[in-house]
């Protein structure tokens, strides 16, 4: 391959036949890499209607042309496949660590895994040497042991991506772990590996990545990149008032400060002022970038002084100067037989602790969270950005009312012959034997018996997490030397809110109607939705098939004053001279804060949302970090806090030698987003036709919707269309009070209440920006042609309009 960046070859491993072959990367160059390769492989090779857990499904481990180049924030990887968690729709998981770059050094641009092995296997890759190895001895073990065993075979410098027991048990809340705590979640991709009997992929590479630029150009580009970077989430102002900084924002992850330490380091390390490049300090040795790794103290940010005191250091991905993973030392964990040393960040730390009651004693939040991290990383258990835990807590505590049971059409008596009304979903749905295991009594009543998993959960006993993870995954839970399991409980809670809602309609009701659910649509979680620039966050959340994992918009919600951010984003996306292909030349506003009132949607917001989605595709294809890129803001006061929208294009051009400008690169990103759209539509259309062959999918109405809780107030007589079990029920019918107050009015008084008509307008504007049809939400024929995706029209003629 004449280009830089790519190695030129993709690895294909067929686990059914044992065949190991290569594919020329040049065939996929128009799709860049990462998820771009993944979408294309799924389109070309995985027929409509394929189940996520099937031999026919394929799983693509992707990196991109930037991976391994050493560029800042380029250490991530993506895994693309059909996802078991949500109706077998396409999706991706995104992982950090060092596995991605290692794959490049081994000489591969991606790995396509297909088929199903007869017995457990793992794939061993040492440069061009690729073999399928027996994993029988590893099956049943967690990711820590698996990684250690493979590194014993391959060498300690090997990188291992593997599944734990969650993936083996084929549960939808399963992920792929590398580098001990870096997870690629994404809707049950661990189960896809598990179904294929693929335990792990170990990689060791001795090669190098070719960069098309000369060393001086590359060095300057990297230095520029570093100068434009802030802290984690590219927060460009510090969290606290500091003399050198014009602005501060309490939401910022630029937490470094005088007197703030990595308290568990030996000796403790003071973060100090970690200034931007315009404010070099005398002790920056010799320049501020050497201290960028101290800017983000997530131990303090997430856990206050307790977290700061137990932070050994901040860690992160290979090649990233922004360290966002908290490496903790929590000695209290040793009494439970788990390591005191753990590492993760944000919600990765709270997967199990979020179903525990925190007693709020000294270090209790940290202890519960680090127990959670230790267990979920080892078992390879994933949560969908908290929607799962919201469902769990509701199912354990919410007492069903007469109105709810009536509105949902629930039977008079539950599985144990007792009235539905007046009991929680767990009490109603779990057999007496399982309730006895979980609570100590056959009806699941409170108070729970001391020592049972639910009692420990309520008491905030960390060992409760050890009990619950086994029961959740359907593993043996040993009590009084009596191995036992809770299969009904496990089936409900381990396979995600969509499955849960299908078998328990009250979960669908909760997800759709309760503002405590934080569910966006299709029973998947919202992730920086309505609270992130209102309609912008909503449009982004409605486009994906899982929580969107898109931080492009979120990364500019913190920083200088919103009026400044609005001005800067308008320069890029709402101006007659905007450099973006997504633009409102009329110059409408884009960004604002809820407290100063949301506004009705504008074309500028739609352009911004479109650019954010396209940017995510580029990040996941090239690959650069979603939490840092693109650099639309910078810490540089001299530039008015402007970032550089051209930077991604400059970076791509420098690495590959394939020169593109901003609009050219955006067009590639739009190609990927549109292909993902078509993939989703193809899969949904197939499912709809299984019910009624005369029907076809309408992406606008069937896919791009929002749950009712974002629109409805207490006592509302109407609701939106039904979208599955437990949905489409007016609050007046169910008596739902977990809703906006009756006095709330959209766009006034700081409320986040949204307006259905306004969101219809928002869809229209977004589709126009993306070249998608207003009525169907599908790319138009002209759009497909302009993007080189004419083959989609050929394959889906009934879904594409002119």
């Amino acid at each position: 391959m004449s280009y830089g960046g790519w190695t030129g070859k993709i690895l294909r491993v067929d686990l059914s036949t044992g065949a190991i072959t290569t594919v020329d990367t040049i065939n996929y160059k128009d799709y860049l890499g990462g998820t771009g390769f993944g979408w294309k492989v799924l389109w070309d090779e995985v027929p409509a209607g394929t189940k996520a857990l099937s031999k026919e499904n394929k799983i693509i481990f992707g990196v991109g042309p930037i991976s391994g180049s050493g560029a800042p924030s380029s250490g991530r990887m993506v895994i693309t496949s059909l996802m078991p968690i949500n109706k077998d729709l396409p999706g991706a998981g995104h992982g950090g660590g060092a596995w991605g770059p290692e794959l490049k050094y081994a000489g591969w641009d991606s790995i396509i895994v297909q088929g199903q092995a007869a017995n457990p296997v793992w794939i061993k890759i040492v440069d061009d040497q690729v073999t399928i190895e027996d994993a029988s001895a590893l099956w049943g073990s967690g990711t820590y042991h698996t990684t250690a065993e493979i590194c014993t075979i391959m060498g300690s410098d090997a990188q291992v991506a593997c599944i734990g027991q969650a993936g083996e048990k084929l549960v939808s809340l399963s992920c792929v772990i590398n580098s001990r705590h870096h997870s690629a979640g994404g809707g049950g991709l661990g189960a896809v590996m598990g179904y294929k009997n693929l335990k792990a992929i170990g990689v060791r590479g001795t090669g190098a990545v070719k960069i098309a630029a000369d060393a001086a150009t590359w060095k300057a580009l990297n230095y520029k990149w570093l100068s434009l970077m802030g802290a984690n989430n590219n927060h460009v102002v510090p969290m606290t008032t500091q003399p050198w900084a014009e602005f501060s924002d309490s939401g910022s992850r630029w937490t470094a400060n005088k007197g703030l330490y990595w308290g568990a380091a030996s000796p403790p390390v003071e973060t100090g002022y970690c200034t931007d490049f315009e404010h070099p300090l005398p002790k920056d040795c010799p320049v501020p970038q050497n201290k960028m790794g101290r800017r983000t103290h997530k131990g303090f940010k997430d856990y206050g002084m307790s977290g700061a005191n137990h932070t050994v250091k901040m860690n992160g991905c290979l090649h990233c100067p922004i360290r966002c993973h908290i490496s903790t030392d929590v000695p209290q964990l040793e009494q439970y037989g788990v390591s005191r040393y753990n590492e993760n960040t944000c919600t990765g730390n709270s997967i199990l602790s979020s179903i525990m009651t925190d007693p709020r004693t000294t270090d209790s939040t940290l202890i519960l969270s680090q127990m959670s991290t230790n267990l979920t990383s080892d078992y390879g258990f994933w949560h969908d950005y908290s929607q799962w835990s919201n469902c769990f807590n509701w199912a354990r505590t919410h007492v069903m009312t007469t109105l709810e049971c009536s509105a949902l059409g629930l039977p008079a008596t539950n599985i144990n012959g007792l009235p539905f009304v007046g009991r929680t979903p767990f009490q109603n749905r779990l057999p007496a034997a399982e309730l006895t295991i979980l609570t100590g009594n056959s009806t699941g009543s409170t108070p729970y018996t001391t020592g049972t998993p639910f009692a420990k959960s309520v008491a905030g006993d960390p060992s409760g997490e050890q009990d619950l993870i086994k029961l959740i995954l359907g593993l043996n839970y040993i009590t009084s030397n009596n191995p036992t399991t809770t299969p009904v409980f496990s089936d409900a809670v381990a396979n995600g809110p969509d499955h849960w809602a299908t078998i328990w309609p009250e979960i669908g009701y909760f997800n759709n109607h309760s503002n405590a659910s934080s569910c966006f649509k299709m029973n998947h979680a919202k992730h920086h939705g309505v609270e992130s620039f209102g309609q912008v966050g909503c449009l982004i959340n409605m486009t994906y098939n899982r929580d969107p994992m898109n931080h492009t918009h979120q990364n500019v919600t913190v920083g200088p004053p919103p009026a400044t951010i609005n001005t800067l984003m308008k320069e890029l996306f709402s101006s007659p001279t905007a450099p973006s292909m997504f633009n409102d030349p009329a110059g409408s506003d884009i960004c604002f804060l809820p407290a100063t009132n949301y506004h009705p949607v504008t074309n500028g917001m739609a352009a911004f949302a479109a650019a954010c989605m396209v940017e995510l595709e580029l990040k996941n294809a090239m690959i650069t970090c979603d939490w840092m890129m693109p650099l639309w803001l910078s810490p540089l006061k001299s530039k008015g806090y402007r970032g550089d929208i051209a930077f991604h294009a400059d970076l791509y051009s420098a690495v590959t030698g394939d020169t593109v400008d901003t609009k050219g690169l955006q067009k590639i990103g739009l190609r990927l987003l549109t292909l993902f759209r078509a993939l989703t539509a193809r899969q949904m259309d197939w499912a709809i036709k299984q019910v009624d062959a005369s029907k076809k999918v309408n992406m606008r109405t069937d896919h791009d919707y929002m749950n009712d809780w974002m629109f409805d107030k207490v006592g509302d007589l109407t609701t939106g269309p039904a979208h599955g079990p437990g949905t489409g029920i007016p609050n007046s019918a169910s008596g739902n009070t977990a809703a906006y107050a009756t006095t709330a009015v959209p766009f006034t008084g700081g409320t986040q209440l949204m307006d259905r008509a306004d969101m219809e307008t928002a869809r229209n504007l977004l589709y126009a920006q993306l070249g998608w049809d207003t009525a169907t939400g599908m790319p138009t024929s002209a759009t497909l042609s302009s993007l080189g995706l004419g083959y989609i029209q050929t394959a889906l003629p009934a879904l594409i309009v002119g």
Partner: protein
């Protein structure tokens, strides 16, 4: 499948290339084409440097600090092209023969055109420029390391044997020069003059320091809250006045100061709200924020953001 071939599995001894650096993870294209591009850009920058230096020398009779040349181009700023090396090359070229470098006793490099400034004049100017640098250095050090304002008297004391008017003249001339654009002045209530570097101690922080120095804690709280409500807008968590020393409010007096602030008529726009879940006290100015908006902002700061990580 297209172009698929069986994977080549070389014997282990064939893996390593002889002489290859095992640590080299990237290779660069040091090609003729790339070198030509760099060369062309360097030539372009030489012309721009010459234009800038000649203009400074001719139009303002001013030396051009080498550090200021970084502003000409990102390739200089980010090191793709080395400024000192370019200047060295220029001195050897006939078309730039007038471009000359003078280095001050403390090592500050200036560039000028001898067509417009004679060498002895340039040397004298460099001494003056150096004095300005020293003054700026003291102000910047106070701002950066001591986090305090620099009283004018401290600057006069630097040249105790000279007429203070010399220092005043230098300080005045600095106000018109881009390289000292960060040097700012503020006056306290008595009219006393203080200097600070806005680069290391921004204007807003300087204003806060002045308020703290005045000892009027009620005014400090009120003005801080008004500024936050006006600029962002957002509420101000009372805890910042306890946790951040810059405000100068003694922790044990904070509650009393707050009560006094809320009581006094000149601060009647300052309002207090308490978050029902966290108990945190927030303040806002109703001049700039309405109550419902302030409450929503406080709620976001206290619990909303944490629930949406």
């Amino acid at each position: 499948m297209q172009n698929e071939e069986p994977v080549v599995q070389p014997a282990p001894e064939q893996q390593a290339e002889p002489g290859k650096d095992a640590e080299a993870r990237v290779t660069f294209a040091e090609t003729e084409a790339n070198a030509a591009k760099l060369r062309a850009k360097t030539e372009e920058i030489k012309v721009r440097i010459a234009q800038t230096v000649r203009a400074d020398s001719e139009e303002r009779a001013a030396l051009t600090p080498q550090d200021d040349l970084f502003e000409l181009d990102d390739d200089l700023r980010y090191g793709r092209i080395d400024t000192a090396a370019v200047l060295k090359e220029m001195t050897a070229e006939e078309r730039f023969e007038d471009i000359t470098v003078v280095t001050s006793p403390t090592g500050i490099v200036f560039v000028y055109s001898f067509r417009h400034i004679a060498s002895d004049i340039a040397a004298a100017k460099s001494v003056i420029e150096e004095a300005k640098c020293l003054l700026a250095g003291v102000i910047r050090t106070d701002s950066l390391e001591k986090e305090q304002l620099t009283p004018l008297a401290d600057l006069h004391a630097m040249a105790a044997e000279a007429d203070s008017g010399v220092v005043d003249t230098l300080l005045k001339s600095m106000q018109t020069e881009e390289r000292y654009a960060d040097i700012k002045t503020v006056n306290d209530a008595t009219g006393a003059l203080y200097y600070h570097s806005d680069k290391y101690l921004v204007d807003g922080y300087a204003a806060t320091l002045l308020m703290a120095m005045s000892g009027n804690h009620c005014a400090t709280i009120a003005e801080t809250v008004r500024k936050e409500s006006r600029i962002y807008p957002r509420t101000t968590n009372l805890a910042v006045f306890r946790d951040q020393k810059v405000y100068g409010v003694p922790a044990d007096e904070l509650d009393a100061v707050l009560l006094e602030t809320l009581r006094r008529s000149e601060y009647c726009d300052i309002k207090k709200i308490v978050h029902p879940q966290t108990g945190a006290v927030h303040l806002y100015s109703e001049r700039y924020l309405k109550q419902d908006a302030a409450w929503a902002m406080m709620d976001w700061d206290e619990v909303g953001r944490a629930n949406n990580p």
